[in-house]
Symmetry: C2
Subunit: 333 residues, 2 copies
Amino acid sequence: MIKKKRTTISDVADYVGVHKTTVSRALNNPGRISKELSVKIKNAVIELNYIPNQAARSLHLDYSNTIALLIPSFVNMVFDDVITGVKSVTDKHGYALMVGTSTYSELGEETIVESYIQQSVDGIILTSTRHTERTINMLNSAGLPVAEIMNMSDAPFDINYGVDQEAAAADITRYLVDKGHRRIVFCSLLLDSRATLRKKGCQRVLKEAGLDASMSLYSKAQASFQTGAELLAQVLQTWGLVDAVFFVSDELAAGAVMECHRRGLNVGKEISICGFNDLEMAKSIYPSLSTVATPRKEMGELAAKGLVDLIEGTEVIDPIRTFPYELKARDSA
Amino acid sequence: MIKKKRTTISDVADYVGVHKTTVSRALNNPGRISKELSVKIKNAVIELNYIPNQAARSLHLDYSNTIALLIPSFVNMVFDDVITGVKSVTDKHGYALMVGTSTYSELGEETIVESYIQQSVDGIILTSTRHTERTINMLNSAGLPVAEIMNMSDAPFDINYGVDQEAAAADITRYLVDKGHRRIVFCSLLLDSRATLRKKGCQRVLKEAGLDASMSLYSKAQASFQTGAELLAQVLQTWGLVDAVFFVSDELAAGAVMECHRRGLNVGKEISICGFNDLEMAKSIYPSLSTVATPRKEMGELAAKGLVDLIEGTEVIDPIRTFPYELKARDSA
DNA sequence: TTGAAAGCGCTAACAC
DNA sequence: GTGTTAGCGCTTTCAA
């Protein structure tokens, strides 16, 4: 591929017969340019397909009007709402949004954080609170505001909006216990920080109730209906018909519900299933899924807004804040 | 937020007591630097948390080692596979991946394409084949390779890998007709280019079979279980118990299946439902969903690989190619 | 093996 | 209202 040279501001200037400064002003500061020249320049820009070189721009300006959002994976519907929330705010305030994935690894996060800092993003939103030492160092010395969302962090950066994952898991477990369930299984994917906290909350309540807290199962696969179905099959095979299964995510729970259909098990009567996150489909599957709703969109919005404020020099009130969750008692449990 | 100044290559040079040229070389071209100096410099880089400024770098080099992928929306599982495929290739070849959304609008696409060109990305993958004139102009004069995937384009750029959407929809409709279904409804979201083609394929087959091709319903909402459930309710209300419903996406179809459960309708016997795309959950819901599988991951991989080749000056064989789809006959229809 | 100088494209400070 | 100049941080000749 032969690289055609891009049109530069000088090309436009030459074409119109003015100095490049004038072109720059016509584009960024049109007040100070004569009407007719301004029009001439703008026509030339269109005619020559001039697109400013952002690298040159941010090199000079020392900002890029870009906010970065780092999520563990695109293949996880939980983060859809976060993206939606963040994007609505960045759009509104004229920031470009860059979304990247850590592939659920602290080293993956490190790589992307480095790449974001290299690109001079103005702020970063992380959806994890566990980082490598180098990630922390880079972020601290990069001189840009950092927000962490989803969980509460032990050592937050500038902004931290999270949900008490352990308490939420405890609450839904207690809901199961109060319903009279005794043999309750905890099912998870490989334990990331959030899953670990949920497990802790679940097991604490089980122990407090004098129940067996040792029934738990993990899958190395990714969050999917299929994985949920497989986990349910494994539960039944291992412990027989238990009273209830708490899955750390709605995809898994939904897949388990489907597997129950397949086996002719009446979900909500013969066996109770609950999930976590309250994804869109949770209320729509049959039977509807009991789960815990977390304000992911709001956390995304507020984190983005907070970063914009910090970038633009405004103070952020309450930058470290625990957000409420809501138990959604539906038909599956 | 007071912006701390980032460590620059000159800071590192001063710290070690050499010229910045030497630092640059130690980092990018270590062969030409004495061993001990090299070590000293690398230690200083770590100590000072030096992260190269990508803007300055690409300003000089005129490339950024970045490939951009544009999808309509993050809230659509169809593109998860595309992202996965693209990312595996960009990772492998040392390119950063930027993912952005057009929010299903040609103007949205235009905005993001402009922003990508501004950022000097080295190549762009589009998941749509309809663009504004300005988008086309910008891409043509930007001097970077462009790939379009998912559909076949009438006027492709450098690479185009797609599935014949119309033929695929025709095939699954024919499958329904051959099963003996007579009253078949087409349900879609607002018609983007792919939905339009699928509708065409569906209606063509219905007409050829002498059936009523006028039963179709559209929702302005987004692809979701909920929307699918609502559409099914509307279908039943409008036409009573029809024989089959073809949804343009699996999310909708899955939501419709759930709504049937809710109403005590036996899916696959009393009413047939099919979807499109073969999302992961299609085979896992109950009853399993009949649908059409498209090689989205493969198209993403090959498009990314093709761009890398073009960027690096290798030829791409067969850059315009129609990919096969596969009818997945399962239990829902 | 290392240093000096030039320049990538852009904008802001300073002339006129 | 418009042009001149300098410099953002980096890499790459060219010289030493």
